[in-house]
């Protein structure tokens, strides 16, 4: 007899059992493989640079946190460091590329000569930019990423040597970097800096190498073999102290911070990913427990069969073999379904993950994890499938056979094991549900935070003005004024403006703030430095608490003006009555405060507003900014007309980050939403599996007690009495699970602290809600078999005796 064929037939004859078991396996294996593939890609797998453990990001250390080095510090560091060498500086840069008929924006970086040397990666095609003397590389040569090469240049080998228009300058593509070369994240084009440091984005034509008061680029380096992070830190710290000693000003840095490249990239995601991994692990545990329970229930119904087989001469090994084949078949089906879930899961996770993680996630599921989770499934299948068969074969055949006629054979011990498994499932599901509940609450509360502006109906479009075309303040101011005038005149536009950094977008520019007549204090925060045009506040509906908006008269040469936020006014003056006060920020120009704006959640919805100062754009015309336009007919209708107006002024000007302000808000919550959705998904699946577990145990118990139920009905029990009896059993199991689960959650909840917002990790309401929710699900899961039990025909049931 073909064992495999029979196993298949047995599984086909029990579609509910097979379906639930395969689904359980698929979810357990799939979810774990998917999440672990992500965790592996992000946290475990080395970055694609040789000896990547020696690559570090370097920052100056201050008591308030780390900050980027100033150009002069970098130059000195590069010269003097003995333990961290080579070092390089890089600055993210948005290029306008005119290769076809429409100019496009491409993300990239301007890097110093040591950059490729530090990372130790050679191009997959072509070469690196050549040295043009004095330790610099040729600035008319660029290298591009593999992704850009394939998506924009057709992956053709003949792109090497091709000259393209990069922000108004002709440059030659000399190399294509290998896939995975992604420094900084998302970079598509690397261009050498003409200076010893990257150019300042606002003044790219000025060599900033000797500046000591601006901090606008990142520094990477490679520590020498055998040198520890601490030794490297001490080496750089010594340089910082020597610089401080030679300077007349108060030193900014008291040392240096070294973080591995890997840690720098994934540090912030670590907690969330480990949390997800833990949740996926719990899910695998629940799935295994569920599978075990299913198999034990099935074992009970098949005990009779095993006894018959024994009586007909089957040895223990033969019984075990048949069961093993069935378990392996089930695990294989589950594994295949799990692979499908994992493949789909990884793809979804990748698409859904925060942008900085996407590139690290391999699109294919990790085979090692698949093998591991598959092995867990097989072991569970074997342990709980073959074990009972062996036990049955060893059992008391004689009495088993006699009982056999009344249905299935079950031992009290096995029943206890099944009850315990169901209780554990409920407890584990409770833990996940509490986690999900807390995250949901935090998410809702974050969303309830008032942004400080009104996002709906606002369109935003980012621009970077190329230095070649707009080399000076006057030209930049004139261009911006011109496009805003045209956009303001568009039908349906109620307000339009521009700001150097849109709220809730990454990045910040901060500067020292000096208030006239006030002694600077050691713990004075550095306010956000924002440049805004007239109309910006109106376009985002940011209320002005006092004073006025910027106006067309606030131009270069006119009295310098500033608008401060409420928090700034309170922090520096102790009042919001600050109109007419004077401040210095960024440079030594005295600027008069002409307005006080309401606070805006500039960096994140879940972070309290920090002080911010707005400067009139025309008095400091940045070359990159975001246009914000409020329209009466919503944001969608605005994008095309805005782009048209921009191109009518400059046909070569690329636009990017074309988004509604609502979308900006949503994006800022992406990481939170990512974690929440996954945990939410896991806990839903966990709850379902636990419900299946409770259902299985209760339904099985009902099947076992058919005669008892019939007898009770024959003796006068009403259907409702039977329902109550059965449901009570289910609720007792569930209550034990809930208590155990909530206790575990109380112990584990602080793990979530970092990811919560405006909700305590041991929030009693959430715990209560979870308890009620789980009890409700279990109530339903036990009601279904209870209803069936209440419909038992007493005559039929007793006849079975």
């Amino acid at each position: 007899m073909n064992d495999l064929r029979l196993a298949l037939r047995r599984l086909a004859h029990a579609p509910l059992f097979t379906g639930v078991a395969v689904l359980t396996l698929a979810l357990g294996i799939g979810a774990n493989t998917a999440v672990f593939s992500v965790v592996n890609g992000v946290l475990i797998r080395p970055l694609p640079y040789p000896d990547e453990g020696r690559l570090v990001f370097m920052y100056g250390h201050t008591p308030d946190g780390d900050q980027n080095f100033a150009p002069s510090e970098f130059v000195r560091m590069e010269r003097e460091t003995r333990l961290v060498s080579p070092v390089a500086a890089m600055r993210e840069w948005a290029f306008n590329v005119s290769a076809g008929d429409r100019p496009e924006k491409a993300d990239g970086a301007v890097v110093t000569a040591g950059f490729f040397n530090v990372l130790g990666v050679a191009p997959e095609l072509g070469r690196l930019p050549e040295s043009s003397g004095s330790d610099r590389l040729s600035t008319s040569e660029i290298v591009i990423s593999d992704g850009y090469w394939r998506s924009h240049l057709g992956g053709r080998a003949d792109v090497i040597g091709r000259v393209i228009d990069l922000s108004g300058e002709p440059v030659a593509i000399v190399g294509v970097m290998p896939p995975g070369f992604d420094m900084p994240v998302g970079a598509q084009i690397w261009r050498p800096s003409p200076y010893a440091v990257p150019p300042h984005p606002l003044h790219p034509l000025t060599d900033p190498s000797s500046q000591s008061d601006t901090h606008f680029f990142d520094v990477i380096g490679r520590i020498r073999p055998g040198v520890t992070l601490a030794q490297g830190r001490a080496d750089l710290g010594g340089i910082m102290r020597r610089i401080a000693a030679a300077s007349s000003e108060a030193p900014l840095f008291d040392g240096a911070t070294l973080t591995t490249l890997h840690e720098d990239r994934v540090g912030e995601s670590r907690a969330a990913l480990l949390l997800l991994l833990g949740a996926a692990g719990v899910l695998l545990l629940i799935a295994s427990v569920n599978l075990a329970n299913l198999l034990l229930a099935r074992a009970a119904t098949r005990s009779r069969e095993w006894l018959v087989r024994s009586a007909l001469g089957a040895g223990r090994w033969q019984l075990a073999k048949e069961q093993l084949i069935e378990s392996l078949l089930l695990s294989t089906l589950g594994g295949v379904a799990g692979l499908l879930v994992a493949t789909w899961g990884v793809a979804s996770l990748r698409a859904f993950a925060p942008i900085e993680l996407q590139a690290l996630i391999d699109p294919a599921p990790d085979w090692r994890v698949l093998a591991f989770t598959g092995a867990v499934a097989v072991l569970t299948g074997v342990a709980f499938g073959v074990g009972p068969a062996l036990q049955s074969a060893r059992g008391d055949l004689a009495s088993g056979m006699r009982e056999g006629g009344r249905g299935s054979v079950d031992s009290r011990g096995r029943r206890r094991v099944r009850n315990t498994l169901a209780v554990s499932e409920i407890a584990l599901a409770c833990v996940l549900a509490v986690g999900a509940g807390l995250l949901v609450k935090a998410f809702i509360r974050v969303q309830q935070v008032h942004e400080g502006f009104e996002p709906s109906g606002v369109a935003t479009i980012a621009l970077t003005l190329p230095q070649a075309k707009y080399p000076d303040d006057a030209r930049r101011a004139a261009f911006t004024d011109q496009i805003l005038t045209r956009i303001n005149a568009l039908p349906g536009v109620t307000a339009a403006g521009a700001v150097s950094r849109l709220p809730l977008n990454p990045g910040a520019s901060r500067s020292d703030l000096k208030v006239e007549g006030r002694e600077q204090q050691k713990d004075d925060p550095n306010p956000d430095y924002l440049v805004a045009t007239p109309g910006y506040f109106k376009s985002l509906s940011i209320p002005l608490v006092a004073g006025r908006d910027f106006s067309d008269r606030d131009v270069a040469g006119a009295p310098a003006v500033a608008i401060v936020t409420e928090t700034t006014a309170r922090r520096f003056w102790g009042t919001t009555a600050v109109l007419g006060k004077r401040i210095q920020i960024r440079d030594d120009t005295w600027r008069e405060v002409v307005g006080v704006a309401a606070d805006v959640r500039q960096h994140a919805l879940d972070r309290q507003p920090i002080p911010a100062v707005y400067i009139a754009y025309a008095q400091d015309p940045w070359s990159f900014y975001t246009i914000t336009v409020r329209g009466s007919a919503g944001s969608a209708a605005l994008f095309a007309p805005i782009e048209r107006e921009i191109r009518s002024v400059d046909a070569d000007q690329a636009v990017f980050a074309v988004r509604s302000m609502d979308e900006v808000v949503v994006r800022s919550l992406a990481a939170r939403k990512f974690t929440l959705t996954l945990i939410g998904l896991f806990s839903t699946v966990a709850l379902l599996l636990a419900a299946v577990g409770v259902y299985g145990v209760i339904a099985y118990g009902v099947a076992q007690r058919t005669r008892e139920m019939g007898l009770r009905v024959a003796l006068g029990a009403l259907p409702s009495d039977v329902v109550r009896l059965v449901v009570r059993d289910g609720m007792l199991l569930t209550a034990s699970g809930v208590v155990a689960g909530l206790l575990a959650a109380i112990a584990l909840a602080p793990v979530l602290q970092q990811m919560l917002f405006a909700v305590e990790p041991r929030d009693p309401a959430t715990f209560a809600e979870v308890a009620v929710a789980v009890m409700m699900v279990a109530l339903l899961a036990s009601y279904l078999p209870a209803r069936r039990a209440s419909r038992v025909d007493p005559l039929e049931a007793l006849r079975e005796e």
Partner: protein, 223 residues
């Protein structure tokens, strides 16, 4: 063929032991057809299980052919069971997932018989029991009598020397019951030793000898 001497079986209970079988001494000859009778709880099925080596926890001496069963470990008893014993149950115990032919094949598959040979034996048995037309049906598609017929066929397909039957007609109406008993008589006539447990006086008459059990004691033997 079978010699039992002072067979006893008991369970521990609080404050002592409860005896299911007491000092059973009994000989059964090759080719005999023995019926065990007695009220419920007399120990009939237990005795049958001990004879079939499905129950291992007893004391006394049991000799089956040349084998001293009481001295054998479980593994050897299983081997002996496999070699000599066929079992018929009151509840048929056919496997619902297997067709009639597959149910018949099962005991053979546990006995290292080549597939081609097994197929021949199954075909022959189907023919002998007049169930060729049912070979591809599943047990649930058969009547009770047909199911028991298949169960008997399955229990003898490997030609055991000893056929043990526990209330083989208990679930059948009288005409079907008689057919099964006639079948037993034919098998016995062909040399098979049969021990049956029954409550039915009528069925008991098919055997050569009746053994009466009461409260675990062998109280009467009649021919």
């Amino acid at each position: 063929m079978i010699a039992l001497k002072n067979i006893e079986k008991s369970y521990p209970i609080a404050g002592g032991r409860v005896f299911v079988l007491r000092q059973i001494t009994l000989d059964i000859k090759q080719g005999e057809f023995v019926t065990i009778m007695g009220p419920s709880g007399a120990g009939k099925s237990t005795l049958l299980a001990i004879l079939g080596m499905l129950d291992g926890a007893w004391t006394g001496e049991y000799r089956l052919k040349d084998h001293e069963v009481h001295k054998l470990d479980n593994k050897k008893r299983v081997a002996l069971h496999k070699q000599y014993v066929g079992f018929v149950f009151q509840q048929y115990h056919l496997l619902d997932d297997l067709t009639v032919a597959e149910n018949l094949d099962m005991p053979l598959s546990y006995r290292d018989i080549k597939k081609s040979e097994r197929q021949a034996i199954v075909a022959d048995t189907l023919d002998r029991f007049g169930i060729v037309g049912k070979k591809d049906l599943y047990p649930t598609q058969l009547s009770g009598g047909q199911q028991q017929l298949v169960a008997v066929a399955r229990s003898v397909i490997h030609q055991p020397a000893l056929l043990l039957a526990d209330e083989p007609t208990g679930n059948l109406h009288s005409a079907q019951g008689r057919e099964i008993m006639e079948l037993f008589r034919r098998l016995n006539g062909a040399g098979m030793t049969i021990v049956q447990v029954t409550h039915s006086e009528e069925n008991a008459k098919f055997g050569h000898r009746i053994i009466d059990l009461k409260d675990g004691w062998l109280v009467k033997e009649a021919r």
